[in-house]
């Protein structure tokens, strides 16, 4: 019985168990920390733009194959996060889907590809092109039905991007509007979420990376890119510079990149990854 154990014996037992517990706790911590020391040398963390992330992921996979012992973690989160994480050291490299701003002089940018922003609608929508003025009116809430722009009698669901996305910033800049003027019906985060939303609502209109949209369209997702200012929203038009809403996709580092980061960036800018860029419907610079 429990009570029959003498005090001294029980104390010894208690200490022994405590010791075991302490040791195992220490072991857990050690196991946790140990790889830290090794991992530090061979690991790259890349965070940022959800537009650049799929491309970087593919490049990273190829890089890992050719550089054994290297591990590259790619996390999406938007351009601002890319800049943020690169700045405060959470990431070795940030991904940014726009040109660097004058306030971001502390960062080094490396362009790896070009992309455009395209308007997308559900592919059952007969509308194939919209003028800049029409798009602006739709987003400002002045046009609320597809009938007004030659479509069916269907309410327009305006899909806007959440704050902090460079796609949003570029869109606002192009149309010369402020975000507070826009009357959205849905606000989304990543490009993929935008595509998913538009593909699920017949009256929806949204704007996403052309590369992502083309990729998804090829997969059979029911969306359709709209022609802007007479130019089809395609990688080809981005490449020849005709498409009006285009941008650069960049990798950024705080100050000069570390040796390892530099190595990866050089690889990402090399011809070895050109097929990957094209596969993602982006344009090699």
């Amino acid at each position: 019985m429990l009570f029959s154990i003498t005090s001294a014996h029980s104390m010894a037992l208690l200490f022994r168990r405590l010791k075991v517990a302490t040791c195992s706790l220490a072991a857990i911590l050690l196991i946790g920390w140990q790889p830290f020391a090794f991992a530090e040398k061979s690991r790259l963390t890349i965070t940022g733009s959800s537009t650049v992330a799929p491309l970087t992921l593919e490049i990273a996979k190829l890089y890992e194959k050719t550089h054994a012992g290297t591990r590259i973690d790619v996390q999406t989160g938007g351009s601002s996060r890319g800049i943020n994480d690169a700045r405060n050291g959470l990431a070795d490299i940030g991904m940014v889907s726009r040109a660097l701003k004058p306030t971001e002089k502390d960062l080094n940018g490396f362009t790896i590809a070009l992309d455009g922003i395209g308007m997308i609608v559900h592919n059952s929508n007969p509308v194939t092109a919209l003028t800049d003025a029409q798009i602006k009116d739709i987003y400002l809430g002045k046009i609320t039905n597809w009938q007004s722009v030659g479509g069916p009698d269907l309410a327009i669901t305006v899909v806007n991007k959440a704050e902090g996305r460079s796609t949003l910033e570029l869109f606002l800049k192009h149309f010369g509007v402020r975000n507070s003027q826009i009357k959205p019906s849905v606000v989304i985060g990543d490009n993929q979420q935008g595509i998913k939303t538009v593909s699920g609502v017949k009256g929806a209109i949204g704007y996403v990376s052309i590369g992502t949209a083309e990729y998804e369209e090829k997969r059979g997702t029911p969306i359709k890119r709209l022609t802007m200012q007479g130019h089809e929203a395609s990688a080809a038009n981005v490449a020849n510079g005709q498409y009006p809403l285009s941008r650069t996709l960049n990798l950024v580092t705080k100050g000069a990149p570390s040796k390892q980061a530099q190595h990866f960036i050089t690889f990402a800018q090399s011809d070895a990854v050109k097929h990957l860029i094209e596969k993602q419907f982006f344009v090699a610079p």
Partner: protein, 294 residues
């Protein structure tokens, strides 16, 4: 403990100190949480004061506008709508479990409530997004709306309301049941006029906890509410809750924007804190009802 050995006394002292330190650590966790939220929120508070979150016209971080009022209203509308629906259904569930269902059915029903309580919020979000939203969209596109959020939250907090109500109702002294029965009162009157008043405090504090849970819920709301920052004016309006705002923008936010998200976190903590305090007050004040039968 007259003749305990000095050695074991010393062990006791050490143990007491170590455990006390752990206790202190736990109490400090709250301080730590609040401190780090404050620390991260400080820049934006310092530059514009606390009132900027309430005075600014809307939430447009690009334009340095950090007005949280629309999202606060949205959060409150969701939580209120959810508790208004979940309270009657949850209490009815508890009544069913205790007074209407035969024992075998009651056992199964309790299991169901536990099951419902165990479903992760992200699964409710997934279900809401793929089942509920399309249904709402047939009435009013795109379907992601305040209504969708309220319905999903209602489902999520029904088990909380029901299970706390079960606890409160089963604590009602059996003398009251017998007294009400002996007067020839119908089951409805017994429940509505005697038993529920006796269990009121427990039910209300459970409802407050459920409200706090609804206010704090993030993922399910993020997935079905549409996330447009606006003061809700109809059930079909897409709205963004305070919690969803953090989840949606935290990853993309920098400097003042990020700081104001931490301020939102702080605000949420304060609201929930207040609700927990009121709930515990109510339970304490109810000692008399449950004590008199002793």
């Amino acid at each position: 403990m007259a003749k305990a050995s000095t050695r074991s006394n010393r062990t006791d002292t050490y143990l007491s100190r170590i455990l006390g330190a752990m206790g202190l650590l736990c109490a400090l966790l709250l301080v730590l949480v609040v401190f780090f939220l404050l620390k991260e929120a400080w820049p934006v508070v310092q530059s514009g004061g606390w009132l900027r979150f309430f005075h600014a016209q809307g939430w447009y971080p690009l334009e340095q506008l950090f007005g949280m009022l629309p999202m606060i209203w949205a959060s409150i509308a969701m939580a209120l709508g959810a508790i208004l629906l979940a309270l009657p259904i949850g209490v009815a569930s508890a009544l069913f479990l205790l007074f209407y269902a035969p024992p075998s059915v009651a056992k199964i029903y309790r299991l169901l409530l536990n099951l419902l309580a165990g479903i992760p919020s992200v699964v409710f979000g997934l279900w809401g997004l793929t089942e509920l939203v399309p249904i709402i969209a047939t009435w009013h596109a795109p379907g992601t709306s305040l209504l969708a959020a309220i319905l999903v939250l209602t489902l999520m907090i029904i088990p909380t309301v029901a299970l706390t109500s079960v606890a409160a109702l089963s604590a009602v002294p059996k003398e009251l049941h017998a007294g009400a029965q002996a007067l020839g009162l119908t089951r409805k009157t017994r429940i509505m006029s005697v038993i529920i008043p006796a269990a009121k405090a427990g039910i209300i504090s459970g409802a407050l906890l459920a409200t706090a849970r609804a206010l704090g819920e993030t993922m399910a709301v993020l997935m079905v509410a549409g996330n447009v920052v606006q003061t809700p004016s109809s059930l079909f309006d897409p709205v963004r809750a305070l919690t969803a705002n953090i989840a949606l923008e935290m990853a993309y936010a920098m400097s003042d924007h990020r700081a104001s998200l931490f301020a939102a976190g702080l605000l949420l903590t304060l609201i929930v804190w207040g609700l927990a305090l009121i709930a515990s007050r109510i339970v304490k004040s109810n000692g008399k009802v449950l004590a008199y039968a002793k």
